[in-house]
């Protein structure tokens, strides 16, 4: 390599390096291109594209969940009017008692927690009647649950002494389609 060629290479290399440094300094070229510094707006770009591409899926899923929730909500009493809810629960229980022919000595409304109300029933009944009642409770459209079940056999009377707490959940008015 002659000295002229060497000098030429040095000059050219210097110009290229200076040019690159200038680009890097003035325009954050390297930060943007090489280091890929975080740019919030651009970081969201891919996420947004994905979200928009799934637009119909998102809407469909929401509709499906809302519909199911509306259907399930029908099995529970609303929270906004607790008194009315208690009354409706009591009426429902009484209807089931009458239908089953269950002898009840004592019944009492119960606030189990803020959103769970219940009814305590005590009495003596034959196992067939009691089981028929429990069956109708389990199958009722209103979601009733046995919170407590205590049975004592009375062999002399061929009957069962029972104490049960039937509860249900109070829910907020939700599930309307957006």
């Amino acid at each position: 390599m002659t000295s002229r060629e060497r000098n030429l290479i040095i000059v050219v290399s210097t110009v290229i390096i200076c040019g690159l440094l200038y680009l890097g300094y003035s325009n954050h070229f390297f930060q943007n291109l090489v280091v890929m510094s975080p740019n919030n707006q651009l970081q969201n770009y891919e996420k947004t594209r994905y979200t928009l591409a799934n637009k119909w899926n998102i809407m469909a899923k929401n509709r499906a969940v809302t519909k199911t929730l509306q259907r399930v909500n029908k099995s529970f009493l609303p929270f906004k009017n607790t008194k009315e809810a208690k009354l409706r629960l009591l009426k429902k229980i009484e209807k089931l008692i009458v239908n089953a022919g269950l002898a009840v000595n004592q019944k009492r409304m119960l606030d189990i927690s803020e959103k769970i109300i219940g009814v305590t029933l005590e009495g003596t009944a034959s196992s067939q009647v009691l089981f028929s009642f429990l069956h109708s409770v389990a199958k009722d459209k209103l979601c009733l649950k046995l919170n407590r079940l205590q049975l004592y056999s009375l062999p002399s009377k061929n009957a069962l002494n029972y104490r049960i707490i039937i509860s249900t959940l109070l829910i907020d008015e939700e599930g309307k389609a957006p």
Binding site: F29, L42, T68, N73, A138, C143, R148, L151, G175
Partner: protein, 476 residues
């Protein structure tokens, strides 16, 4: 196969005749002369304007030319040097020339032949004055032509013969007679080695007109003596039976017959199929050296030496090459920087487009995000309710299963369940172990375990069972 389409234009100024020939490669390794021109023109009359006029009027398209130097401009020297390594030989040659030629610095030289004889290096060189080279360089440059360099008449003839012999650098002894308008040249060569060359004063005009019988007689004698001298000095390289003849003279059968009888050798007939585009045979004979140099340029003959280039031309070319290189580098730098700039700019534009796109979809995105959040909340609520619902009727199912799987003779006296979990199951059975064993077989009852002591009375074994924690009833 066709060689790369390349045109070579060769100019010769010799014996007061200006010859120009343009040659291109043709099929089957033939070459085609696309244009040629010959005119009697004294050297003094050759001016840039005249050259420009010829180029324009005679339709020469190529501006890059090579020159065949006039014979009188070239001096030949034979030197005998010891056998040395190449570098040292070149140095010794330089010293020898500096010693033997007073104004050596005014000359450019080239080794035209080198061989070893009698344990010594026999070197033949051609010398050309720098002032002559500068003159031609200036002449052609001022005429708007690109002067590539100057070559030798001798080299052109040698190339032509090699081409005629099939492109190979033949290693046989060849002998040619070139009768020009101002001299006759006898050359014997082997490959690239010039074995013998001599110039005679006889001219083509004298031979063609045959006005002076004495001159003809002298020519005959000179020719014979030259060949005898050669053969005595080169006994190892016997002259071939045929010789090559160049010059207009050889277009005339009568003269050919005379010369062949003098030499007692046959004239090689040229393979004219290899040279296309020549109208008259006599033109071909006079254009031989030009065609020979053109063959080198169109790469039909391997180039063996560089052209003679004057110091002035060398400096100018070096300067031009420096600026050309500088220009190339500058262009490259500009391209690279522009590339970087465009990449960066492109990136910026892409980013801006993305940002704009994001902004244009901000509302719909917000709605979708809200919907997703709503779906998530509702799903959580739904999961909770489904969990609650799933425990409905669990106690009844448990009791039914229990009653179904109680062993015979077992009675239940007391059951207590809370939140779906069996707290206490009391009763009597003939065998508690059998009872437990049976219950274990039922998955729903397998978690029941004995609680407290087993009391044995007349009705059987009294027991208390409870459900292991872990299967706790679900609370909302």
């Amino acid at each position: 196969m066709l060689k790369m389409a390349k045109m070579a234009t060769i100019v010769s100024i010799d014996s007061g005749i200006l010859s120009i020939v343009e040659v291109i490669p043709a099929q089957d390794h033939a070459c085609r002369i696309t244009n040629y021109y010959q005119v009697e023109l004294p050297t003094d009359s050759l001016t840039p304007a005249r050259l420009q006029e010829i180029w324009q009027k005679k339709g020469f398209s190529n501006k890059k030319i090579s020159l065949i130097l006039p014979s009188e401009s070239v001096k030949y020297r034979s030197l005998t040097l010891p056998i040395l390594p190449e570098e040292e030989l070149q140095r010794a040659l330089q010293l020898e020339l500096e010693d033997s030629i007073n104004d050596f610095q005014n000359y450019t030289y080239q080794v035209i032949s080198q061989s070893i004889q009698n344990q010594m290096n026999q070197v033949k060189i051609a010398l050309v004055s720098n002032s002559i080279l500068n003159h031609y360089y200036t002449l052609f440059t001022e005429a708007g032509l690109i002067f590539k360099g100057a070559s030798l008449h001798l080299r052109g003839n040698q190339n032509f013969i090699n081409y005629q012999l099939g492109f190979l650098d033949n290693e046989t002894v060849q002998f040619y007679l070139d009768i020009a308008s101002n001299k006759t040249e006898i050359v014997v060569f082997k490959g690239r080695e010039i074995l013998y060359n001599r110039q005679l004063n006889s001219t083509e005009e004298e031979l063609m007109l045959q006005v002076h019988p004495e001159i003809i007689k002298d020519f005959n004698d000179e020719l014979r003596l030259s060949l005898i001298y050669y053969q005595k000095s080169n006994p190892a390289n016997t002259l071939p039976k045929q010789f090559w003849g160049f010059g207009r003279v050889f277009a005339y059968p009568k003269l050919v017959q005379d010369i062949t009888s003098i030499l007692n050798k046959e004239l090689v007939s040229l393979d004219t199929e290899k040279i296309q585009g020549i109208e008259k045979t006599e033109d071909l004979f006079s254009l031989v050296p030009l065609i020979g140099i053109a063959l080198e340029e169109i790469r039909y003959i391997n180039p063996t030496q560089r052209y003679f280039i004057s110091e002035k031309q060398r400096k100018t070319e070096l300067k031009n090459s420096f600026w050309q290189q500088g220009l190339v580098w500058a262009t490259l730098i500009i391209i690279v920087l522009t590339g970087f700039f465009l990449i960066f700019k492109g990136e910026q534009i892409r980013e801006q487009k993305k940002i704009k796109w994001l902004q244009s979809r901000k509302d719909i995105l917000q709605k979708l995000q809200q919907t997703m959040f709503d779906t998530k909340a509702k799903q959580a609520k739904l999961d909770k309710l489904v969990t609650w619902t799933s425990t409905q009727g669990r106690e009844l199912q448990f009791l039914n299963t229990l009653i179904k799987h109680l062993p015979v003779g077992t009675t239940i006296s007391n059951i207590s369940m809370e939140e779906g979990l069996l707290k206490d199951l009391a009763g009597s059975t003939p065998s508690v172990s059998r009872l437990l064993q049976k219950l274990k077989r039922v998955p729903e009852l397998a978690r029941l375990k004995l609680k407290g002591n087993i009391i044995i009375n007349e009705s059987g074994e009294l027991f208390h069972l409870e459900e292991e924690k872990g299967n706790k009833g679900v609370s909302p």
